[in-house]
């Protein structure tokens, strides 16, 4: 089943085009990473998917138009934006009562189970919790909902590394199964790399790369070139080259790895490196900045 299907999705704010006719298809059971620099349109895309903003073009989420059917959609979709959106006056027990009272798919016992593993007290107000604990609370509420699609918009922004790691670990071990779909946007590419099944790079409202991780490994290669072979490696058309300890590292897109034999060490590049390579490839002016 298809969770999200967008065709020609476009959104503009005045003269600024935030999303420039993107096509996107996310199947059930996938974990998609939405990666892009600030202002790339990640949040706009997610907000359109959640029915928070009107849009142009075609968009179906779990078979529904999110803008006209937000309420019905939210029965099957959960959403965490950055940690600051939990109401600060709310007490933990109030959040549990409220979720229990409005959400058909909320399992209170499950949420209490998750909270029992944390230091969060039922009487605490959100304003008294640290950022990390607020994220834990929000995650506990969301993971207790039997949803089909979970949307995370920079969920770990401003959290320290312990909480960030814990956040994604519990998501994978306690929540994810193959009937669920997760879409996550983040800057911290390397932290989510290992959990993704698909990745989309977004830049200036356009999709720069849309690939499954299996295909990604076949498609991209990183060569740590031996000094004598750098020239011949360069002739094979790398999309990016950088220097590390005096040696050249070249990234290739869509090259047959056999052709790199004998030129140096070959491995699969990290998402962050391919991301930088792709961003610079689209706008060469960024090289100076990077």
């Amino acid at each position: 089943m298809t969770s999200i299907e967008a065709r020609g999705l476009r959104k503009s704010y005045g003269k600024t085009v935030a999303l420039d006719r993107i096509d996107l298809r996310v199947e059930e059971g996938r974990i998609l990473g939405l990666i892009g620099p600030n202002g790339a349109g990640k949040s706009t895309a997610l907000q359109a998917i959640l029915g928070l903003i009107p849009h142009e073009g075609e968009l179906k989420v779990l078979g529904r138009d999110p803008w006209t059917a937000r309420e019905a959609l939210m029965t099957d979709v959960c959403f965490i934006a950055d940690v600051a959106v939990m109401p600060r006056w709310m007490r933990v027990w109030q959040a549990l009562d409220y979720m229990d009272g409005v959400h058909t798919r909320f399992d209170r016992a499950k949420a209490e189970g998750f909270l029992a593993k944390t230091n969060i007290k039922r009487e605490s107000k959100v304003r008294e919790l640290s950022k990390g604990m607020t994220a834990q609370l929000h995650l506990a509420l969301v993971m207790a909902v039997d949803a089909k699609l979970l949307v995370l918009d920079e969920p770990t922004l401003g959290l320290d590394i312990l909480y960030r790691k814990q956040f994604y670990d519990s998501l994978l071990t306690d929540y994810f199964d193959h009937n669920r779909t997760i879409v996550v946007s983040t800057h911290q590419v390397d932290e989510i790399e290992h959990i993704l099944t698909d990745v989309v790079f977004l830049d200036s409202g356009r999709i720069v790369l849309d690939v499954s991780m299996e295909a990604y490994e076949a498609r991209f290669a990183e060569l740590l070139a031996t000094p004598e072979q750098v020239a011949s490696a360069r002739s094979l058309g790398p999309i990016h080259e950088r220097q590390l300890f005096g040696r050249s590292i070249l990234i290739f897109d869509g090259i047959d790895r056999a052709r790199l034999d004998g030129l140096g060490e070959v491995r699969t590049p990290g998402l962050a490196d391919v991301f930088v390579a792709k961003m610079i490839a689209t706008f060469p002016g960024r090289e100076q900045a990077a």
């Binding site: 959106v85 959400h103 058909t104």
Partner: protein, 287 residues
């Protein structure tokens, strides 16, 4: 777990307003507490007044009336400031993104917020007033008994039957009367980024100023004042110059109230403003 578990989004939306704004019940309760405190001191002289002759206006009803008035005035202020903040606060602290991530429609949310001044506060005010008056009545009875005076003399003169009929009816009609005002405040709350109070006042005052300067008349400002303060006048047959006190059952005038085009017109305007407010909540971004 079944997907058709019973949920009550409207009920819980109202509950959450009470969690967020305890002033809805604390402020009226505070006003009543001050009234009770003052009354407590006055009981020092109570037995003498009860035992004494019966002048026409012996002031025995005064604490009951003033406490009710104070609670209602505070309730009105709470209603106004609640409505001005209700849809602004959630955008300001960005919690709207949390609320919108749940299966609760904008319609339900806005109606729940409108229900606070229209339904919840009248009920709260009524409960607080009657509660305070009951305490006063019990206290007075004890004081009178301690002084060896027949409490029947007290009860004959402190007759709450009229007031306890007038209050629920008056509070209800007054809420209907003020519905367009609250709806306007909610709309501004959902529309303005900040200074909701100024935005709510500016347009009507601008119209009034224009009318004054252009036509040297002040119909609009009178219309506004009537809309703000005229609710009880609409409910009882004590209209007219000087506005007499409501002092008999026949003053209760539901036929007039429910046939009043001003009430129905106001409700229609309120409905329209709320419809706009619901659309605004759907599309306004966090601030």
């Amino acid at each position: 777990m079944s997907a058709d578990r019973k949920v009550r989004p409207f009920y819980w939306s109202v509950r959450r307003e009470l969690w967020e704004h305890p002033a809805i019940y604390l402020a009226p309760a505070g006003a009543a507490a001050v009234g009770l405190l003052g009354f407590l001191v006055s009981t020092l002289w109570l037995a003498r007044s009860v035992a004494g002759a019966v002048p026409k206006n012996d002031g025995l009803m005064m604490p009951y009336v003033f406490t009710a008035l104070a609670v209602m005035v505070i309730g009105f202020l709470v209603s106004i400031f609640y409505a001005l903040g209700a849809l602004n606060g959630e955008r300001r602290d960005r919690s709207i993104q949390f609320w919108k991530s749940l299966p609760v429609s904008d319609l339900t949310t806005v109606l729940a917020k409108a229900a606070v001044p229209l339904l919840v506060l009248p009920v709260v005010l009524l409960a607080v007033i009657i509660g305070a008056q009951l305490i006063m009545l019990v206290l007075s009875t004890i004081v009178v008994l301690l002084h060896g005076v027949d409490p029947g003399r007290l009860w004959a003169r402190v007759d709450m039957r009229l007031m306890w009929t007038v209050l629920p009816y008056g509070l209800f009609i007054n809420a209907l009367w003020l519905a367009p005002v609250y709806a306007w405040l909610l709309l501004i709350s959902g529309w303005a980024k900040r200074m909701t109070f100024v935005w709510a006042l500016a347009p009507p005052l601008a119209v009034a100023l224009f009318e004054r300067l252009a036509f040297n008349s002040s119909h609009f400002i009178h219309f506004l004042i009537e809309r703000l303060l005229g609710g009880f006048g609409e409910a009882f047959s004590v209209r007219g110059e000087g506005r007499a006190a409501i002092d008999k059952f026949s003053d209760i005038d539901p036929i007039h109230a429910f046939s009043s085009p001003h009430i129905w017109g106001g409700l229609a305007v309120a409905g329209l403003l709320l419809a706009v407010t619901i659309r605004l909540r759907r599309s306004r971004d966090p601030i």
